[in-house]
Amino acid sequence: MGLFVVQFLTGLSGAASLFLVASGLTLIFGVTRIVNFAHGSFYMLGAYLALSLIEALPVPRGTWGGAPFWAAMAAAALGVGLIGVLVETIVLKPIYKAPELFQLLATFGVILVVQDAALWTWGAEDRLGPRAPGLRGSIEVMGQRMPVYDLLLIAVCPVVLAGLLLLFRTTRWGILVRAATADRQMVAALGVDQRWLFTSVFFLGSCLAGLGGALQLPKGGADLAMDFGIVADMFVVTVIGGMGSIVGAFLAALLIGELRAFGVLFFPESTLILTFLIMAVVLVLRPQGLLGRAEPADAPGHDAEPVRPADRTWRIAVSVLLAALLALPMIADPFVLVLAIDVLVMALFAASLHAIMGPGGMVSFGHAAFFGGGAYAAALAVVHLGAPMTAALPAGVVGAALLAAVIGFFCVRLRGVYFAMLTLAFAQIAWSIVFQWTEVTGGDDGLLGIWPAAWAADRTRYYYLTLALVTAGIAFLRFAVFTPFGRGLRAGRDSPVRAEAIGIDVARRQWAAFVLAGAVAGLAGGLYVFAKGSVFPDEMAIPRSFDGLMMVLLGGVNTLSGPWVGAGVFTSLQDWLSRMPFWRLTLGCSIIALVILFPQGIAGFVRQRAHRHRDRGS
């Protein structure tokens, strides 16, 4: 009995950091509609800042000996709040008018910058957090020991929740925040200065993340992996609670904290999958989370102008590019071919993601499931069935399509960020199956020795094979957009209600598009395996999904050429920059610069310039 009580209390204390971080995230999302992936970086900065302050502040003698510790915690939270304001002002403010979710890309840039800035400032070694003065040791609870500090953490959650609720009920600022969460346009129409409101919300949200990072110090410490470590968890909590709902985040943090504590007790191997399983179940049952509001069915705001077939100039440009790619083996050294294969594969992957993001209006955070799924299907066919490459590549396509059919079935009923998060959850579940099913998939030691058939083993030949398949894949996706199927898909994106009214089954069409995109991603995955000779679960993991998002957004989500332009720029930039020290800093800054310079993406910018030029000329 004592064991269960203590395990329950341990779960509560585990929920504290989760709640603090998630409440800040949900607050920021509720008001600004920004999905802030850099929120985990604020959490990490909170830990490091508090640690540095604790080390720097002198410790007075006597009863006030603990004061600097707590002062450092508070100061770190405020400091992170200020950093949040800085990020909001410099990076996000210029791009609030950009298409929805474009700000994602900027927050990816911020993550990279903070990563290297923290490495530069605090060094690579993990730092252990100091224990809290006066709260060392443990007390006895029903025959089991419970660390005293855990009791403080248990108390923090409800106190912060109460404070936030009080703030929202009683202050004018709080009322504005609630109003903006409910209806942003209306608040703007009533003459509220949104810029100021956004900045202040960013301040509070970042403060909470910083406080979360600082408060976990006595339980752990500060290290450079904290940001990625919390990113998935904080989104899970926010989404389960319902985006924008503080009380929801509170309930979700408790739910996750408790299920984890007891999961460890009864299913020790469930640690990888449990959180995402819970999220998937909650979202399938309640598509807007526990306390979230459903997104309006006919959300206005997709202001994309209709895609058009390429004009003459563009066709000539693409023909020249293709000719150059065909001639590449004759003019470039072998490594350029290796790099070109990488770029082509990523271009196909990005194009497949774009097929659902652009014309479909479905932003997926889990598209790597199909890239990796195709890669694994192809690799498994080779390793377990002895399939030749000519059979393994189609197996990759079919495998990814099947996976997409299953995942898509559950996801297409959801909208917006909830859709994105459910794809992320399923991708993580798929990842953990591959990761843990060692007998079949090799676990994280992967599958090795999967090389092209003899006729394609030569690098130049494999390059031509890749070029042919990638070109065909991209051309096919492009063609699909202009078919009645593609037009119906776009109609469903722009106005689901009207599309339904003229007889389009929007959900079914979106499902079909999802499967199609999955199949093409699977082809990219298959090509990738044979180029690398091996495959590991990393290819299904979150960073791979994020790579795809970055490429699509960088190129421009509202253009058909965006994904491959973005893939080319991103992959080459990364290859070039990763030769330098602190290359993540440079890459992050480059991404932020590109975001601010080209809010429609690079291809979008080129198209806009071209149209302006043409309009002026005529």
Partner: protein, 405 residues
């Protein structure tokens, strides 16, 4: 600060030409290029010491006139911890930089991906840090050698001590991925063979770097084991140690920590480091053999920092390549290098090490002892050097696990 600046200076050039022109007229031949790939950004705390160790060995060899009449040159790149990225970089090193061989790798998956590529492209790959047993066994190949004592070897070192302890009821806690699984499986196999009556009463599998330490500790305590075999590391180990301390898990129990005595793992814990854990590691300040003292002094002199386990591995990787080139007379044809590498014995700060012909694993060992705090600094006491050669399965078992060539 010095370390960071050194790292920067090193990285700025990417290519390290440390050859001292004119030091030795016989070294007029082209330098031998070594392609080093490592996770310099993802695991900086572990790979920076490795890089510094390499640099020291490289300087020593080149100042002495090179190896086999040729200077050594290092081409160093960051793989960001991604196998696909590592393969791409390796392709570039092979085709563009024309490296004579590949070395490095920190994560096992990167090592395995590089091994697979090395076999396909016919290039020698000397894995430094990757621990996976499968690298030289199930997935072993002709072109791949590995220096560091593998998961199996280090687990076997602890298992032998564990068998002598008399503890019956064992609980294990290991990160939920291949390294953790291998480490537990190897430990169980060796311990059960030596002590058939042991029982394993609990297994905990926290997600790597996401341990819910309080809950895990509670779950282990509930099983009432006599002894605990711990494979967690880094921040997981720090959290586990602290929660275990607070909740009294370690009282009157033998605790084992795989790699727990390596400075990379234990020194960041400072005064909070768990004491009296039986660990494998590297008590750098206490090994006073002439060879090790010379290495340690030179390292401290050069970097104003003390060596870590990674430094030793990096240093030995370059020394192994130096010895290899001495044996081939500077010839870098891959087949010749593979033949020379098999049964190659060379001197290291921890004693002579041999690359076994049977599975291409080196016999480099590790230090086994108990963790201790001395003047507030974590170190090891009652340690001894466990020679890797003594902790490998017999040849028949190895042949059963390694594909025939």
């Amino acid at each position: 600060m010095t370390r960071r600046r050194t790292a920067l200076a090193l990285a700025l050039g990417t290519t390290l030409g440390l050859a001292i022109a004119g030091a030795n007229p016989s070294a007029a031949a082209d330098p031998v290029r070594i392609g080093d790939i490592n996770s310099y950004t993802r695991m900086a705390a572990f790979t920076e010491p490795y890089r510094m160790g390499m640099e020291l060995a490289l300087a020593e060899i080149n100042e002495a006139g090179g190896a086999g009449g040729r200077m050594l040159e290092l081409v160093s790149r960051d793989d960001a911890g991604e196998p696909g990225e590592a393969v791409k970089i390796a392709e570039e090193m092979i085709t563009r930089d024309r490296v004579a061989l590949l070395s490095g790798g920190f994560f096992s998956n990167v090592g395995l991906a590089l091994a697979s590529l090395a076999e396909q492209r016919g290039v020698l790959y000397l894995a430094g840090e990757p621990l996976a047993d499968s690298l030289v066994w199930e997935d072993g190949n002709r072109h791949t050698f590995r220096l560091r004592p593998s998961t199996w070897m280090q687990a076997a070192m602890l298992a032998r001590e564990a068998a002598a302890s008399g503890a019956r009821r064992w609980a294990t806690i290991a990160p939920n991925y291949a390294y953790g699984k291998d480490a537990v499986a190897a430990f169980k196999a060796v311990l059960s063979e030596l002590q058939p009556e042991v029982e394993f009463v609990a297994e905990q599998w926290p997600a790597l770097f996401k341990i819910d330490a309080g809950a895990e500790v509670q779950a282990l305590a509930a099983a009432r084991p006599d002894a605990i075999y711990n494979v967690t590391f880094g921040t997981d180990m720090a959290k586990f140690a602290r929660e275990g301390e607070d909740r009294g898990l370690f009282e009157d129990r033998l605790v084992l920590g795989l790699l727990g005595g390596e400075p990379e793992y234990i020194e960041p814990l400072g005064e909070d480091a768990p004491i009296d854990w039986l660990v494998t590691g590297y008590p750098w300040s206490k090994i006073d053999t002439a060879a090790h003292a010379a290495f340690r002094d030179a390292y401290i002199e050069k970097f104003d920092d003390h060596p870590r386990a990674g430094s030793l591995v990096g240093y030995n990787v370059i020394k192994a390549i130096g010895a290899l080139l001495e044996k081939t007379g500077g010839d870098t044809a891959t087949d010749g290098m593979i033949e020379a590498m098999e049964d190659l014995t060379f001197e290291t700060p921890v004693g002579p090490v041999t690359f076994r012909a049977i599975d291409h694993q080196s016999t480099m060992g590790a230090y086994v002892g108990y963790t201790a705090l001395e003047e507030g600094r974590p170190t090891m006491r009652d340690w001894y050097y466990a020679d890797g050669a003594d902790y490998l399965p017999d040849d028949e078992a190895v042949r059963a696990r390694r594909p025939a060539e």
